[in-house]
Point group: C2
Chain length 555, copies 2
């Protein structure tokens, strides 16, 4: 059965009822239809008065074409916790429309562990992504127009660092020339479009703590350099107020529910390979204070999303995670161990043992932060009992516990064993959360720490462009910020085909991009596309709707 069919067979509770579940009244939420709502700023303040619950971070091994089901586990685990009489609240990222129309599909879980209304969330939802796109491109238009109208700020058109953005997979917009034609069309220059989820606008929204902070961050965004190489910020254009107005609703987290009516806050959606990969601070904070278990997910493998959650996001939160859940599957580990995609349904203990190194390193990495770690083995029909037993045995040899989950087929019931492990781990006395690096270290030190300690790299190399950027960043004193590495999600390294747990490689940093509104430095490692393309047969060809509004082909 298609995911959307399962959702269509379930009736959501009125969203007011879900709000009641977390102690909010109908006037503290702003409904969008009958099954979606935004939490008002007053609601966020109200929630903040509650005591903090336990925070659970869900992450995973490196993604493979076999699929891991991290969102599915997050949803199913929350439903299981609810079945155990707890009061879980989920915080998730918003899906990007680009991949929905392209290949990846949505981001609302799968099977019987899904968030509703699945179609709306995967499409325009409450408009946050579009508001970000509008703010991003309004700023871009204002920059080009400033130059056209006399350029009193002396901006060098060849040194504009702000790019346009669309929430679409559009390879043709990666490299463009704009401002062609008549003089009235402005200055001709090279320009590129990123996907909105890779934009700094998205990172700023996710890291902002209120409207004032949002406006300040927007004002701090670096947009260009002058002909004499002085930095120009949004505040120099005096449009941070207008951009904040464009994001006044987008800053409010969105409330929905799982198939089992667990309150779910979905807000902000940066990709974890080219951005920081976590939902908004406001959503996580709301979840922490809205129930006794907050579950949040970080994008892609623990080398990307979780590292960024722990080193970039956590310092802004009222608390660090109490438990980290690492999702693994037999299939994905066997793929890491050399088994071919087409053969993954065949038992192969050798490949499993070989591929286990991937999980092993992620587990070691997560333990480095001094937070309890448990493993969720997301069961697939093709997994043999022996494979599952071998995997659990390998994990227990590390002194860690694991549970086999089957939330895709069973919903919360399939996650009860995992829920019990999480409850047990969360009641442990939590040692101090240890961050991986200090912001005050040099960029080279911070990058080397991430590369060696998390990725297993031998060393880090900078291209001449990256070196040039490094000098510029240091000269301006922007180097005391966390690092957000942009690299392939498929490998610990910067080379997508190096599966398992590679060592001895050099991480090559091609560029360093100061994101002064977000407050981090992006390090581009390897060839990471900030604008995806569509596949030969895009999902759009299969998506349809009938006269009664019934959607098919959305997944």
């Amino acid at each position: 059965m298609e995911d959307i069919e399962i959702v269509q067979q379930n009736t959501p509770e009125p969203i007011e009822k879900i709000a009641n579940k977390i102690g909010l009244t109908a006037d503290q939420i702003e409904p969008y239809g009958h099954d979606k709502a935004k939490l008002s700023m007053a609601a966020l303040q109200r929630l903040q008065q509650n005591p903090a619950g336990k925070l659970v971070l869900v992450t995973s091994i490196n993604p493979t074409p076999a699929g891991e089901g991290k969102s599915t586990v997050t949803v199913g685990l929350a439903d299981a916790l609810q079945q155990r009489g707890q009061h879980p609240v989920i915080a998730l990222r918003e899906p990007s429309l680009g991949p929905v129309m392209g290949m990846k599909g949505g981001a609302t879980g799968g099977g019987y562990a899904q968030v509703m209304p699945m179609a709306d969330i995967n499409l325009h939802f409450t408009g946050d992504m579009h508001a970000l796109t509008a703010a991003n491109n309004t700023l871009a238009a204002l920059i080009d127009n400033h130059i056209h109208q006399g350029n009193t700020l002396n901006i060098d058109p060849k040194r504009i660092v702000w790019k346009r953005a669309l929430d679409i997979n559009d390879r043709a917009l990666r490299e463009t020339v704009i401002g062609l034609g008549k003089p009235a069309n402005g200055e001709m220059r090279e320009e590129g479009f990123d996907i909105t989820v890779a934009s700094e606008m998205m990172a700023v929204l996710c890291l902002a703590t209120d409207l004032e902070d949002l406006k300040k961050r927007l004002g701090n965004i670096l947009i260009a350099y002058t002909f004499d190489r002085q930095p120009i910020f949004v505040r120099d254009l005096q449009v941070q107020g207008a951009l904040t107005v464009l994001l006044k609703d987008a800053i409010k987290p969105n409330l929905v529910q799982t198939l089992e009516h667990t309150p779910t806050i979905i807000h902000g959606g940066p990709f974890a390979n080219i951005a920081h990969g976590c939902n908004s601070i406001l959503a996580t904070e709301a979840a922490i204070h809205a129930g006794n278990y907050a579950l949040t997910e970080a994008g892609f493998g623990a080398d990307l999303g979780a590292e960024k959650f722990l080193d970039i996001v956590t310092p802004h939160l009222s608390k660090a995670p109490d438990v980290i859940v690492v999702v693994a599957t037999v299939r994905a580990l066997k793929y890491n161990g050399g088994q071919k995609l087409a053969d993954l349904s065949t038992e192969d203990i050798h490949a499993l043992e070989n591929g286990y190194v991937n999980l092993h390193r992620h587990l070691q990495n997560m333990q480095r932060y001094d937070i309890p770690v448990v493993v969720s083995i997301n069961r697939f029909v093709s997994d043999s009992d022996k494979e599952l037993a071998v995997l659990q045995d390998l994990i227990s040899q590390e002194g860690l516990t694991s549970a086999i989950t089957d939330v895709h087929e069973q919903g919360g019931k399939g996650g009860l064993a995992l829920a019990d492990l999480v409850i047990e781990a969360a009641t442990e006395e939590v040692p101090d959360y240890q961050r991986l690096y200090d912001d005050d270290s040099s960029i080279i030190e911070k990058l080397t720490t991430i590369a060696q300690e998390i990725y297993g790299a031998k060393d880090v190399e900078f291209t001449s462009k990256a070196k040039q950027q490094l000098r510029l960043i240091e000269r301006h004193g922007w180097d005391k910020m966390p690092i957000c590495v942009a690299k392939t999600q498929y490998s610990f390294s910067d080379q997508p085909k190096l599966l398992g747990a590679p060592t001895g490689f050099t991480l090559t940093v091609r560029d360093l991009i100061p994101k002064l509104g977000a407050g981090f430095i992006v390090a581009m490692a390897g060839n990471v596309l900030t604008m995806p393309g569509l596949p030969k047969h895009p999902a759009a060809e299969k998506i349809d709707i009938d006269g009664q509004g019934r959607i098919t082909g959305l997944f």
Copy 2:
């Protein structure tokens, strides 16, 4: 006082209460916050069972920098009708974000004749504009990707007619080159961006009558020609279903209210100079059946918006207008009569009499459709009693009635005299509505009729490009559709500086663009920009918001 301050001093009724006013229950609307809602498709069907009320079309003389206040009159007239015990429902267009951040400001009326919530409506509202942008650009990406992935449809990249779009004033995107760089970035080609309100996507949404019709129209959109010059439609890409899914909510009209709580349906927003300039068919139909007076407005002067409403839109409606209200101001007529902008506050009877020719021709044009016409003189503080008396006298010499309105300062009370005239005119036996031309006539005949009968042109000339397009359109049999002229809004002619009521000019048609999804042929006359630019000091510089969410500088 700023318009937004007036709105901030008024408390909207809960949107459910406004829905009740038009006979809808809370579950027949989809709330967006507490003061906005979408009408569900079920609600539209429910309303359609009511008898039709009177339909009032509000239009105006050619716009001038002096401002006419057509939306303000529409809102104030509705509020006045409500004060007279009638049950008016307004249907308006959605504002475009581009001009809001640029120069023109919003489109929700002004002073005490406004629609609430003004800021939301002028910003992202319920996301319709962004959904259209997403659908527009998803289609564009699918086209370029199709070519990149093997081009089985044999599309000639130099003959793609579908353009990208953004709801932003962005001069730099008028002419671009895309697909630069690596082979994976697709085919390099010229491309342009239009403002979303000028896109065929917008026209299709506004003319669609239900989901099935929307899907059919989307499938019919002409996107390109093959290397051997055969037309390629959206249906050839098989993505009309996905595009319809992207517009599944955007097709539902939006319900809001005036400051005096008159139900107002705002939906669809094509510009009237470069598109057809009227809100959606679904919104107008809903308004017709939701009360006993439906008021709708057509964009810019009656030469553009009203002509298109009467010749393109009305054939799709269940009824033609019962009354046409033409809005004029002393100031705008004096400007048409040669008085300088800076001097408009000085009495000048001569300029008024000179400029009256503009109103005169609009009144003649509207009467040609055999629908009763009344004039609203939108009073400004600087108007002298003598000027007002002279203007009323000139109008009565044509056998028409006029009322002086002051809804900007007084709300509905300032429109009572106009309301009485409208009620009187609407009770007249309405003669048959006479359309200006038959769709079966040739394109040259239809264009000549519009140019001579409405614009006062001597004749119509086609550039060689337009002639080439004419042959192509005729060869494919696409010529039996209405004509949507794109021309300057400032003059009856295609030359912005020819004010008053010019005669003897030639209308030059530069291009003919078949919009097969919308179902009309756009005739480009003069240099009409389909992507506006920002001014030297964009409104964005003045717009701000404080920590409590209070907005300033939005107008």
